[in-house]
Symmetry: C2
DNA sequence: AATTAGCACTCGAAGGAAAAGAGTGCTAGC
DNA sequence: GCTAGCACTCTTTTCCTTCGAGTGCTAATT
């Protein structure tokens, strides 16, 4: 059922006033804004309460939006906000530095989001599954060599292997061709015991090393697809009036600090058209979030890497401004990670431009 | 001036009772424990107050230890506590996994310390300065090669370099000998502009790549000596009665979450004999810590790598148990990082034992 | 029919007095 | 030197009152 224009206006004004002040809103306060008497507002508010969009903390307090009220506000009433020049510039600035490890980057993004929104924030990156593109073995000395693995996403991993017995340069070379023949283009699930065993049979006197290198390879592949997750700014919660009760604050902080729960208990699929998603109070699965809200945005680099950034706060969250900021940051991340300077995905590589050549 | 035995007993009992309950301690409560009447205790307490070891929140409350009182307790009265079997086992268990990146490890150690002590904890690792032991260059394709750098601390770093022009296999080989000749054994301060320029002059047609590889090298060396710092469990603060005031909690949490301040504002030198150090309330330099205490322990791998773990809490901290746990964890870390299984320091290397050889 | 003014009513917040309770300091006696 | 006793102090708790914001309803107005 459709609301009258005036009801929409009242609900909007009420939600925004409550977001700003955290105080229940009375009819008098709205009368001025809407342009009719407080009695009229009271009648309207009474109906809105009947529809479940507003709530009364107690008889003689003003009204407060219910979760359904917030939902309606977020879906239909809220203004899409633009970032100020300064904010946009700050974000671009922070994101300018590429070429970082993914954990490090997620950490910075979390910090940035949190300090910008003044709410706790998290940042999550998920890499697509990778395979090995090529192996290189570097002979260091009789007891030591280095395995260097180049993955399909152009990440490079390495490991120093120290042996209690000696090997020759040629044995390492053999090992190298062996692995390049058998283990390239293989994802981590495809590294089976039988593959390892058949490689060992072909390995001659270097069979003892196969299992070691194979397990390192699996580690790399597992690491490559694993998600990086960072949480930042949890202490911002404490400045919100709804968390002046230390017990409530504690419960939610615990939940937030446990990155695993954030990932598992938030429905990170089914983003709206613009890659944004808001879950309000009881819509959240996790018990700890039943009277908090989460705003999240997804980004996508186009080459299989996806991720999310999000913000946790009281249901009385400044949805409009948070949504705008998250969208902007997410868009920036998509650009950064898939941009022309990093055409093949994120990794610690270095692109040399013609202009860098010394004359 | 030396305290009578009875005064020591009273002070000890009072501190421990206050640590346990967070309530000011009255003379009656102590009378039972000490074995004389409350009036006697009152007289003694009055003198202890005069000496500045106790404080009265107000006339009709019991007494509370002053910072000086805690200091005396920590220095002379407190029992060196032993860990329970279970606790020791839990720590050993957690520390069993070696072979991790240093950031990851510090993160886990922070978590472990925090969950064990129920206070916020931090873990800090500082690597000694390193130099490059050798360079390897892997030719991938005409536009791409990988630089692999083996450092003196046996860490291996790599970078994929993508070029806007083609190079030949031989050019890469030249580059390799060039860098191995000029840049090995060099610390990051020793990489000067003139070194780079003289190498470029010797580089022939690969001069354009010298600066790139050199700057990557500096990055590696800088990264190798940089400290890894992790903070965990900040939310434990909220369960302490002294931080029921959200403003206080907020201020301290902000301080703690800012790892940099923790490092710079804590006097991490001058550990006591057993590698432990306690700073109580106003002894702390940082304004935010003026009514908190910090217990920290140092570890040392013997090969130049040092680090600290620490715990932040109210002055009413359970010094005895925290000190025991920190000592144990620090000792465990020393062992882990310098132990027989990792004889050359921490890095992501892999040591193959004879028994690992397949038969 | 919709809006508004007026008014009685409700209920939490704020303030204040009184009572309760815990602990001290002092004095006198053991 | 220790202890019992007691008056005194000061916080905490409780209960009561007052105050005020805001509602819901009714009747008047447009």
């Amino acid at each position: 059922m459709e609301l009258s224009d005036r009801k929409k206006k009242i609900l909007t004004a009420l939600v925004e006033s409550y977001i700003a002040t955290a105080e229940p809103v009375g009819s008098k306060a709205l009368a001025g804004v809407i342009g009719c008497s407080s009695a009229t507002i009271r009648n309207e508010m009474s109906e809105l309460t009947g529809m479940g969009l507003l709530e009364q903390p107690h008889t003689s307090a003003g009204r407060v939006p219910s979760p359904a009220g917030y939902r309606l506000y977020v879906n239909e009433l809220m203004q899409r906000q633009k970032l100020s020049e300064a904010e946009a510039a700050a974000i671009n600035d922070k994101l300018a530095k590429k070429d970082e490890q993914i954990e490090q980057l997620m950490n910075e993004v979390g910090q940035l989001t949190s300090s910008l929104t003044q709410y706790p924030a998290y940042a999550l990156a998920m890499k697509p599954p990778a395979a090995v593109k090529r192996f290189d073995f570097i002979y260091v000395d009789a007891n030591t060599f280095i395995v260097v693995v180049l993955l399909t996403d152009n990440t490079v991993k390495n490991k120093l292997v120290h042996l209690p017995f000696s090997v020759h340069q040629e044995q390492i070379t053999t090992l190298s061709s062996l692995f390049n023949a058998n283990f390239t283009g293989v994802t981590d699930e495809e590294i089976t015991d039988s593959l390892i065993r058949s490689t060992e049979r072909a390995a001659g006197d270097t069979y003892g090393l196969v299992a070691v290198v194979a397990s390192f390879t699996m580690e790399c592949l597992a690491g490559a697809k694993s998600a990086a997750m960072q949480v930042a700014g949890a202490s911002h919660l404490l400045s919100q009036p709804e968390f002046r009760d230390p017990d409530k604050a504690h419960a939610l902080m615990n939940f937030i600090s446990d990155g695993g729960r954030l990932v598992s208990d938030l429905p990170h699929m089914g983003m709206e058209r613009d890659g944004l998603r808001v879950t309000i109070g009881p819509e959240n699965l996790a018990e700890e979030l039943k009277d908090s809200s989460v705003v999240m945005a997804s980004y996508d680099t186009g080459d299989g890497m996806r991720g999310y950034i999000g913000v946790v706060g009281p249901t009385r969250m400044d949805y409009s401004s948070v949504a705008a900021k998250l969208s902007y940051i997410a868009a920036g991340l998509s650009r950064l990670l898939a941009g022309p300077d990093a055409p093949e995905g994120l990794n610690n590589k270095l692109v040399l431009k013609e202009s860098d050549r010394h004359e």
